[in-house]
């Protein structure tokens, strides 16, 4: 039977394959075919990911953003989309090694680690029945995806920066030679955040509009809201450090990593550790 779970499974294997191709491409062979296969499987995975979301929406009769399982599918979808756009524009396949690993771990998480009840298709509770919810979730996750990409790029930056200083001729160094220039990595990092920040901002604002319709206050300092604000402040700090203090390289890479860790906490940590209104996603 064709249903959303089938498409999620297919997406899982495609992302696994894509991840593996990119890693082999980066690590072992000076072979472009592997890189191309990485791209092709990523595109295929993106298509089945789209179908999974579409079927899920069709089965549930509402936009598939009602729980963690569904929002993670949206996260992988937006991350792969963002990465493919970047690859198309700048042609640095090696970045796929890192971004597709993040994507693969995300989908692995929901298939194996998430308690089964999250996979259920739930009817929307009354507070979630709003068009603002859809805009809120979509924009927030585009923001998260951009930050995930910047996280991957920052790790690449730090690795490359670290190994370039050492003179040994290890295998790792050969791998890292494939990385784009440090300046380019730094610039791409900024570009990802320059996409992520406006979308996160729209996400926070549409969340506020929705809360105003649902609860009568646009800001109530519940932990999820507060953590979004913290994430927002961290990236505002990143932008100012960069633009007004000329911070570059290692410092901004570390900043971006901290930012994404805060995103993960906002998304998962708050749902499972802290109490609040956003129990579903």
């Amino acid at each position: 039977m064709i249903n959303s779970f089938l498409w999620v499974d297919v997406t899982f294997w495609l992302y696994l394959a894509s991840c593996a191709f990119y890693i082999f491409y980066g690590l072992f062979y000076k072979n472009n075919t592997l890189g191309q296969l990485g791209t092709v499987t990523a595109v295929a995975g993106f298509i089945t990911n789209t179908l999974a979301l579409g079927y899920r929406a069709y089965e549930a009769g509402h936009a598939p953003f009602a729980n963690l399982y569904e929002s993670m599918l949206l996260f992988t979808w937006a991350t792969v989309l963002g990465y493919l756009m970047m690859e198309f524009k700048y042609k640095f396949r090696i970045i796929g090694t890192f971004v597709m690993s993040i994507v693969f771990f995300s989908i692995l998480t929901i298939i194996w680690l998430l308690p089964y009840r999250y996979q259920n298709i739930d009817p929307l509770n009354p507070a979630l029945q709003s068009l603002w919810l859809e805009v809120h979730v979509t924009t927030t996750f585009i923001g998260y995806a951009a930050f995930a990409i910047s996280f991957g790029i920052s790790i690449m930056y730090l690795l490359k920066n670290w190994v370039e200083k050492k003179s040994s001729d290890s295998g790792l160094k050969k791998f890292l030679l494939r990385f784009p220039d440090l300046n380019i990595l730094d610039d791409l990092n900024y570009k990802s955040i320059a996409w992520g920040f406006p979308f996160l901002t729209i996400g926070v604002i549409t969340g506020a509009v929705w809360a105003n319709y649902a609860w009568g206050t646009y800001w109530s300092w519940d932990p999820k809201e507060t953590w979004s604000a913290i994430v927002w402040l961290i990236y505002a700090g990143y932008l100012h450090a960069r633009v007004t203090h000329g911070w570059r390289g290692v410092k901004t890479a570390v900043f971006a990593i901290i930012g994404f860790l805060a995103v993960i906490f906002t998304y998962w940590g708050v749902s499972f550790i802290l109490p609040g209104l956003h129990a579903y996603a």
Binding site: A127, K191, A194, P198, T201, W221, A229, I230, V270, L274
Partner: protein
């Protein structure tokens, strides 16, 4: 003499004030302070999410112990977002933003308006991107081609000519430079709206039974709840809560709307939100009662009794009358009174007067959940409360926030500013074409305030096209 002295004093005082003012502006126009403030706000917010906010003292004592509760409370950590130091940090941020804005906008504005068309050849070649070409063509022809080319790429072009050369200045996306300022102003406007809302707005809550009318004193009108109901999905999970509300202003029904979660009623700036609901805890509309013979357990009759009204039980000489109801039965032995422990229907009980041949025999409490607790033996009958219907009330959040629209205006500006600042890039190009006896030298230079890799590409495309003009 005296006058002179006084003047000197004033001058000195002014000087001191000016240094204070300078210092103030220096500190507050610094983006360093901004980053520092971001860090403080982030750290305080983390505290606010680690320690639950605005809970009852017992919860904190259970979690942290008596002594620590004192410390936490003393530091304002139980309501951190309304503590003086949190507010102070937000005020500092606003001052920082405002000073920054007024200090930085004027020079930036001048830069945007700046159209120094003429630039010396060597200055052009010193730009971030530059090139020097030559062509065997007339000055005028080259000028027209360059002009057309830049226009086609969306640049605003101005030219200045002398007898022997032409200077061209082209730029696009200048507005992007003030994107960050629009963002900063947007944020200030949001703060303004939030402050206005917290001083001039109010938040309230009301429970209103179906059919009841409530006076809304903040708006000077009445609100009637005509109906409340719940709709369910097939699996009995609630799908929606609905209240039909009517606004009565000056004695007239002026507005009727069925509200639900996410779809409030608005009237005269006051918003009514569907927020909760429940059943009355101190009265019912009617109840279904079963009557049995106690000895034999034989079923005698079923009656539907309205609250407070006597009803005859067929086949008997009994009359019953429900005179009291509590949702969560509690008997206070001290005062010998019955009342409802909570508003939850945990242990619903009704008091029923039993008349035999018109004479009041007894008035026992009958428990809906525990029928066997009916121990009254004044008659030969056993009464069971098989069901009841209590009036429903709807719980409405009532708010007025005159700042909310200002917050939305600020949010829009903030977002708009972000897009301008990140995606609208100020690109500037200077061209000088110098006539060399039917040949021309062309100097091209340019820069972009952002996304330099992209501009490098743009620029080399431009140079390629300029090279190809001849053909």
């Amino acid at each position: 003499m005296g006058e002179e002295k006084a003047e000197g004093k004033i001058a000195a005082g002014k000087g001191a004030w000016e240094t204070v003012e300078d210092k103030f502006i220096e500190i507050f126009s610094s983006p360093k302070l901004a980053i520092f403030i971001f860090i403080i706000l982030a750290v305080l917010s983390v505290f606010g999410t680690m320690i639950e906010q605005n809970r009852e003292p017992s919860m904190y004592i259970a979690a942290y112990g008596d002594k620590w509760y004192g410390v936490i409370r003393g530091l304002g950590l139980t309501d951190i977002y309304h503590s003086w130091y949190f507010s102070l940090t937000l005020i500092l941020l606003s001052v920082n933003l405002a000073v920054c804005f007024f200090r930085r906008l004027p020079p930036k504005w001048r830069l945007i308006r700046d159209k120094s068309v003429v630039m010396a050849e060597d200055a052009i070649l010193r730009q971030k991107n530059s090139a020097r070409l030559n062509h065997n063509m007339s000055l005028q022809h080259i000028k027209d081609s360059v002009f057309g080319l830049l226009r086609k790429k969306g640049y605003k072009v101005t030219t200045a000519e002398t007898g022997s050369d032409v200077s061209i200045f082209a730029h696009r996306g200048a507005i992007g430079r003030i994107g960050s300022d629009i963002t900063h102003v947007g944020l200030l406007i949001i703060f303004l709206g939030a402050i206005l809302g917290s001083f001039m707005g109010f938040k309230g809550f009301a429970t209103i039974f179906e059919g009841e009318t409530k006076h809304i004193k903040e708006g000077g009108f009445e609100l009637r709840v005509d109906k409340f109901w719940i709709e369910y999905y097939d699996d009995y999970r609630p799908k929606g809560f609905f209240s039909t509300l009517t606004v009565i202003d000056n004695g007239k029904d002026v507005l009727k709307k069925t509200i639900k979660v996410n779809d409030p009623l608005r009237y005269k700036g006051i918003w009514f939100y569907q927020s909760s609901y429940g059943q009355a805890w101190d009265r019912i509309d009617k109840a279904r009662l079963f009557v049995y013979e106690r000895e034999t357990g034989k079923f005698v009759a079923e009656v539907i009794a309205d609250f407070g009204k006597e009803i005859e039980v067929p086949n008997t000489n009994l009359k019953l009358k429900i005179i009291g109801f509590v949702a969560d039965f509690f008997y206070d032995t001290a005062s010998k009174e019955v009342f409802s422990k909570s508003i939850e229907h945990n242990n619903p009980a009704m008091q029923i007067e039993v008349y035999e041949k018109g004479i009041l025999k007894t008035a026992p409490w009958v428990f809906a959940k525990y029928p066997e607790a009916f121990l009254d033996k004044s008659t030969k009958y056993f009464i069971e409360a098989a069901g009841y219907q209590a009036p429903q009330y709807t719980g409405l959040s009532i708010t007025r926030d005159p700042g909310v629209n200002i917050v939305w205006v600020g949010s829009t500006l903030l977002t708009l500013g972000l897009f301008l600042s990140f995606f609208v890039i100020h690109k500037r190009i200077w061209v000088k074409i110098v006539d060399k006896n039917n040949k021309v030298d062309i100097y091209v230079g340019g820069n972009a305030n952002k996304n330099k890799i992209n501009f490098d590409k743009d620029f080399s495309n431009l140079i390629n096209e300029l090279n190809r003009i001849e053909k």
